[in-house]
């Protein structure tokens, strides 16, 4: 007889409502995590995923006030049986925003903090700190830097190292790779999920699913209203729920989209693919009759993923230009030297590179918000959508943040209807991102707009809206610089890219060509996006 182990964590009819709010933030939800299981929790922005995670160790309601109904159990006990701090030896948590997790110490102290709280020997702490930082690939010479001086991606690496160092039997991970360069994100996913340890379970929330699904045992999705949609093993789940996920604004991997498009065309693959390599292998194995149709379907889908905007002419007006510029953050050292580039009217430029390469500094310099240490910048001052959306908010309500009328229409467009009277800081991370994007794009046509990691924490619906808004602004003549690690998104909206690294601009040219340069990708910690892998295979099929 099959023995069913007791879950390490479970929610039974759990619903959470914050004070002074009429609607529940999430729930009712019932789900469980079994020992050694890796569970992926999906849901659109604002569906209450992070809230649900915080009920697990009792942070909600013991530290963050809220009404919680239902039962939350952890390792066979009621979660409320212990104080949240006392669960730290069993549950290692990674919050969605790394700034909410780090306490402002040096990198090494930050990683050691949870271990010190457990009373481990100093030598053991030192060993675990060094091992955790090595595992995430954080450089040795940066370990005495204060975390507040790190880039967004570097903060995320430190937060991950701190979580790994705890060596807890349950990992609760909220968007671990949102700010990471693609290659770093892949390494981290492997680190977190690939090694099968029977004793270690993981609950993970993420919007970037490519490359992860092969390591997931089960998926649970919650809808925009905070209630459960469905759950199951990834292969069957995505095939069964594809339409529901898309209609709820939940992102699905490209391989799953290919499978759904093939089913719509009357081709049902024997095994639903989860990764692009699986999809390509399955398509390659099809017989001639179905193969021609399937290639057409795949080609059409891939074409839709690439930038459709017209490339701006090389004779268009120059909106902003940097000439021999040394870029440095405020109070910080020079990160990029001798940068020369121009941005023309109607052009959308992707700024790509590894974490800490200086992309944000370059974006702020391009926008005229940071003065170059050397060299010359020309052009009007641009607008910037900060990497941390909270930096964008200046007023006491969502409605007041949007100055251009009609405010209600802008709120509805950005999926923020009904939230107009809320304080911006009360929103979920995804909703904050939408509001920050709305403040710089709604009803405004800035000549120059810099978007810094605009898709971090954003669901599929938000990305789709952002993509349309970028196209519209570019069509009206705005020059847009997009700093991102989301290469699929960059390919969808940009024709040109600059890749930064090693303290300078490594390459500047058409994005599709740069993304096929594997040597460049390796130098900049980037990876070929799945859509280009599919296109490459489709092109090879023509021959």
């Amino acid at each position: 007889m099959l023995e069913i182990a007791e879950p390490v964590a479970s929610w039974q009819d759990v619903a959470v409502r914050y004070p002074y709010h009429q609607a529940t933030a999430v729930g009712p939800v019932s789900m469980a995590i079994r020992p050694g299981e890796r569970l992926l929790l999906l849901g659109p922005s604002g569906s209450g995923k992070s809230t649900l995670l915080q009920t697990l160790t009792g942070l909600i309601p013991q530290s963050i006030l809220a009404d919680v109904v239902g039962a939350v159990r952890l390792f066979g006990q009621e979660a409320s049986a212990r104080a949240p701090a006392q669960w730290a030896s069993h549950v290692a948590q990674l919050f969605q925003n790394p700034e909410q997790m780090l306490c402002g110490m040096t990198v090494a102290d930050e990683v050691a903090f949870a271990l010190e709280n457990q009373g481990l020997a100093a030598s053991e702490i030192q060993r675990r700190v060094a091992a955790a930082l090595d595992r995430v690939g954080f450089p040795h010479d940066q370990r005495d830097r204060r975390t507040m001086t790190l880039s967004g991606g570097e903060k995320q690496l430190v937060a991950l190292a701190a979580m790994l160092a705890q060596n807890a039997p349950l990992l609760v991970i909220d968007e671990p790779t949102a700010h990471l360069a693609p290659a770093a994100a892949s390494r981290l996913r492997s680190l977190l999920l690939a090694s099968r340890q029977a004793a270690r379970s993981a609950l993970i929330v993420d919007h970037r699913l490519d490359g992860m699904l092969g390591m997931i045992d089960r998926v649970v999705a919650i809808g925009a209203d905070g209630t459960m949609i469905d759950g199951g093993a990834p292969r069957e789940f995505f095939r069964r729920c594809h339409a529901t996920l898309v209609s709820n604004g939940i992102w699905v991997p490209l391989a799953v989209a290919v499978d759904a498009a093939l089913i719509a065309a009357g081709i049902r693959l024997a095994k639903a693919p989860l990764t692009m390599s699986e999809a390509i292998a399955t398509l390659a194995a099809l017989n001639d009759g179905r193969r021609t149709l399937s290639l057409e379907v795949a080609r059409s889908l891939a074409a839709r993923q690439l930038a459709t905007a017209q490339a701006s002419g090389t004779d268009n007006d120059i909106i902003a230009a940097l000439s021999g510029v040394h870029c440095a953050p405020l109070f910080g050292p020079v990160t990029l030297r001798d940068v020369s580039l121009v941005l023309r009217r109607g052009e959308t430029l992707a700024i790509l590179g590894r974490n800490g390469a200086g992309k944000t500094t370059l974006g702020a310099t391009l926008a005229g918000l940071l003065r170059p240490r050397r060299g010359r910048r020309s052009g009007p001052m641009g607008s910037i959508c900060f990497q941390n959306p909270e930096s964008q908010f200046l007023t006491g309500s969502v409605r007041e943040e949007l100055t251009a009328p009609p405010v209600d229409r802008h709120l509805a467009e950005w999926g923020l209807a009904g939230l107009g009277d809320r304080h911006p800081f009360e929103l979920s991370q995804g909703q904050k991102r939408r509001l920050a994007l709305a403040t710089v794009t709604a009803g405004r046509d800035p000549p120059l707009l810099v978007l810094d990691e605009p898709t971090a924490g954003l669901d599929a619906a938000g990305k789709s809206l952002l993509s349309r808004r970028i196209e519209r602004l570019a069509g009206q003549g705005s020059a847009i610089a997009l700093i991102t690690h989301d290469l699929d998104f960059a390919l969808g909206v940009c024709r040109r890219a600059v890749v930064v690294g090693e303290g300078r601009v490594l390459a500047d040219g058409p994005i599709a060509a740069l993304m096929r340069d594997h040597a460049l990708l390796a130098r900049a910690d980037l990876e070929e996006p799945p859509v280009l892998a599919l296109l490459r295979w489709l092109e090879s099929c023509r021959c």
């Binding site: 730290a88 102290d109 457990q118 200046l394």
Partner: protein, 257 residues
């Protein structure tokens, strides 16, 4: 070099020197204190002399208030005037004001020396290990010490966000109205940061056990003993010099009256 010293002996010595500076109403003592601090920063810490001069500016402005009060409102400065009975710098009022002026700079520079040469993390760790400071209070202090640095970059981002809304670049140095308008948002930022840090520390197990390890706390070395001996000797010599000029006796007798 001073940055490598154990924070606690440095804290004790700086506190003693501050106390002496407050109590000893002697221009020479205050000048000597300022000179020693400036020389330490320039020679031992390799700080630029211009930076050291710039550091004195806010304390000098503060001290200038004492000087003008002393000269223009003599009745308000009765105690100081009696202290400066034998006026070495012209009139008694001016002498008294000058000593108060120098005292403000001396006290400010002692504080600046400590802040510039001490890592807040090392200080808190040392206090937790040696003085049994509660980790909760220790990390609260630590957060407060770091917050002052982070407020500057937060203020900068706020200014950028406002500039974008206005559609024109921010001024290089914020004006008085802009500075005032930043106070409440920065206060809100500080409160938000504090509550988030508290939650983050709780989630990572702060206070879960009765005891906790403090990894990487500073240890006492020979250099700390040498520094303590040298600084204490200098302080004693300076106090002796002040006593020799009878100033301290005047303080005691005035207090006894």
């Amino acid at each position: 070099m001073l940055s490598r010293l154990h924070p606690l002996p440095k804290l004790v010595l700086c506190s003693l020197w501050l106390a002496a500076s407050m109590l000893i109403f002697d221009a020479a003592f205050q000048l000597l204190t300022i000179g020693i601090v400036a020389a330490s920063l320039i020679l031992l810490e390799r700080r630029s002399p211009l930076l050291v001069l710039a550091l004195m500016v806010p304390f000098a402005l503060f001290g200038f208030g004492f000087l003008t009060t002393s000269v223009l409102f003599r009745q308000e400065s009765d105690f100081a005037l009696r202290m400066a009975e034998r006026a070495p710098f012209g009139g008694a009022a001016f002498s008294a004001g000058l000593v108060l002026f120098l005292r403000a700079i001396a006290c400010g520079m002692i504080s600046a020396l400590f802040v510039l040469t001490t890592d807040p993390g090392a200080l808190i760790k040392a206090m937790m290990v040696s003085w049994r400071l509660s980790p909760r209070i220790g990390y609260s202090l630590f957060s407060a010490l770091h917050l002052t640095r982070d407020l500057a970059s937060e203020a900068h981002e706020m200014r950028l966000a406002r500039a974008m809304r206005r559609g024109r670049p921010p001024r290089r140095i914020p004006g008085p109205m802009e500075t005032i308008s930043l106070v409440v948002p920065l206060l809100a930022f500080a409160i938000r940061r504090a509550s988030r840090m508290a939650i983050a520390m709780e989630a990572r197990g702060l206070g879960a056990l009765g005891h906790r390890t403090v990894a990487g706390a500073p240890e006492i070395h020979l250099r700390d003993l040498l520094f303590t001996a040298a600084a204490a000797t200098m302080l004693a010599a300076a106090i002796y010099g002040a006593l020799f000029s009878n100033t301290l006796l005047k303080i005691v007798s005035t207090c006894l009256k």
